[in-house]
């Protein structure tokens, strides 16, 4: 079977590029893969089935959407709400009418009015606060032979949207933890709390900063490490000042770091925090990395994150008590090394069982064979 593969690839700064870098070698050992690129999208013309990876970055996925519209294939839906992608491909190209039409086509006149209000600044953008209510996936999936998702949550959301073609749920692959390099963190700081992989408002960095501010009252040597792109829009200095935290003393703010340093920072962390609201129906690669490294992980209790077993991660619901429970959870994990260790061991065990890359590649082959109408043999 020959597979045409459409995805952002390294060195593009994208989680889906990293995902493909992990999956492609395992897939290529099982089937013949022809990798298309932005500059040579037609290089996958003679194939049995095409595999399109879709996520919300319009720069990374615009050309893939165009190819999908031209030729049908299996879509890997990395996020079940693609409103931001559609907004980027319309508003980002100076075409608000196309955006409003897209919203109206899927969500009717009410959706259009809300979208219009958000364009006029009367409401926050729909993709920021109500992405799952207005996911804008139907038109994008019109040419899909079937969809691959990573979670039951995403599968259910598609079913609720009335998607009728085949949906395969294939676990997200984990990187094999190797020897951790030097994280470049100051010596003697404990506990090290980190949130890695994107400094966005959706990752609830302000809420984490507030909880960390409380933790530091009992653990003055605690250090918070934030790494990832997007920190500019958070106005971190003003937020730190309000909480009495000092940049570089209490909180290290790193931009996007290379993969090796990312894993080294994670390995050096005592507690990895990955909060989220609203969810776009994504599966978090940084959470999977932290699980594979055997770390104590704190996540928001929603979407895919809720599917993680209770004894494997600590979950914090996004509700009126989020800050209190997050602070209490950080305190517990900071003061009780045994809880951290047991949680970490359960996490590593879970990742090796559920997120094995070979198992993921086998599942892809089965799905692609089914879509191509063959038996999956290479």
């Amino acid at each position: 079977m020959k597979v045409g593969y459409y995805s952002p690839l390294p060195p593009e700064p994208s989680g889906i590029a990293d995902y493909s870098a992990l999956l492609l070698p395992a897939l290529a050992r099982r089937v013949d893969v022809s990798v298309a690129s932005r500059l040579r999208p037609g290089s996958s013309n003679e194939v049995d089935v095409r595999l399109y990876h879709l996520g919300n970055d319009p720069r990374g996925h615009g050309w893939i959407v165009e190819e999908l519209r031209r030729q049908p294939g299996v879509v890997v839906l990395h996020e079940v709400a693609l409103h931001e992608l559609v907004a980027g491909l319309t508003l980002g190209r100076g075409d608000p009418d196309a955006y409003l039409d897209a919203v109206e086509q899927e969500d009717g006149q009410e959706g259009r009015l809300l979208a219009q209000s958000s364009l006029e600044g009367l409401l926050p953008p729909l993709w920021e606060v109500r992405p799952l209510e207005f996911p804008l996936v139907d038109a994008l999936l019109a040419n899909a032979l079937g969809v691959i998702v990573h979670s039951r949550f995403a599968e259910q959301r598609l079913a609720e949207r009335g998607y009728e073609r085949k949906v395969w749920r294939i676990p997200f692959p984990a990187r094999t933890p190797g020897e951790a390099g030097d994280a470049g963190l100051p010596e003697g700081r404990a506990p090290v709390v980190s949130s890695l992989g994107g400094l966005t408002y959706h990752k609830r960095i302000p809420q984490l900063l507030a909880a960390f501010g409380r933790l530091r009252r009992s653990f003055p040597d605690a250090l918070l490490v934030l790494a990832g792109s997007g920190g500019d829009s958070l106005q971190l200095d003003a937020r730190l000042e309000r909480l009495g935290l000092v940049r570089d003393r209490d909180v290290l703010v790193l931009g996007r770091v290379p993969g090796e340093r990312f894993l080294a920072l994670m390995a050096r962390s005592d507690i990895c925090v990955s909060l989220r609201w609203p969810t776009l129906g994504e599966t978090s690669a940084s959470v999977i990395d932290a699980l594979a490294l055997g770390k104590a992980v704190v996540v928001s209790d929603l979407g895919w994150y809720s599917e993680l077993p209770d004894g494997v991660v600590a979950k914090v619901p996004v509700d009126g008590r989020e800050g209190d429970l997050l602070s209490a959870t950080l305190e517990l994990l900071a003061e009780d090394g045994r809880v951290r260790d047991v949680l970490g061991a359960a996490a590593a065990d879970y990742a090796s069982r559920e997120h094995d890359v070979a198992r993921t590649a086998e599942a892809y082959v089965q799905a692609l064979a089914q879509a191509a109408g063959g038996n999956g043999s290479g």
Binding site: P58, R59, G62, G88, L89, G92, R93, G94, P124, V129, R130, Y201, P206, A210, G230, D232, S233, Q235, A238, R239, R242, W277, P278, P309, D310, G311, V312, A314, K315, V318, D319, G320, R321, E322, G323, D324, L325, A328, T329, L332, V339, V342, L343, A345, A346
Partner: protein, 127 residues
């Protein structure tokens, strides 16, 4: 029937569940609002630290990217030149916004506490 000792991760799950029950059983601390993420409160939290230092945006597609990159340097220079003029009022605005949010949260916490007290008193009367 033999008694199986609890697995360690079950034990940790029970500890985390107890912690959650404990936190939900005590009054909220200042800054904890509402029963769920209020869109308005979330937006206020996002927007209060106003600043002229905003991220540089670019359109999609190669033309948008080229335009964005081309404008980055002049925008950056203009921002630096105007900073002395626009930043002081923004700093005042940030302090005001943060104070209003604190006030709202304190009022909310006070209301919640009052609600809890009156519900407790009603329950006492019923028993």
């Amino acid at each position: 029937m033999t008694h199986q000792p609890p697995r360690e991760d079950d034990e940790i799950a029970a500890i985390l569940a107890r912690l959650r029950d404990e936190v939900y059983g005590r009054p909220p601390s200042s800054g904890e609002v509402g029963a769920g993420p209020s869109v308005a409160r979330e937006e206020a939290e996002r927007m209060w630290p106003v600043s002229a230092d905003r991220p540089f945006l670019e359109g999609t597609g190669s033309r948008g990217r080229a335009r964005g990159l081309g404008l980055r340097l002049p925008k950056s220079v203009l921002r630096k030149l105007m900073r002395w003029y626009v930043e002081p009022p923004f700093a005042d605005q940030r302090r005001f916004n943060a104070a209003v949010l604190r006030l709202l949260d304190e009022l909310w916490a006070r209301e919640q506490a009052k609600d809890g007290t009156s519900r407790g008193a009603e329950a006492d009367r019923d028993t």
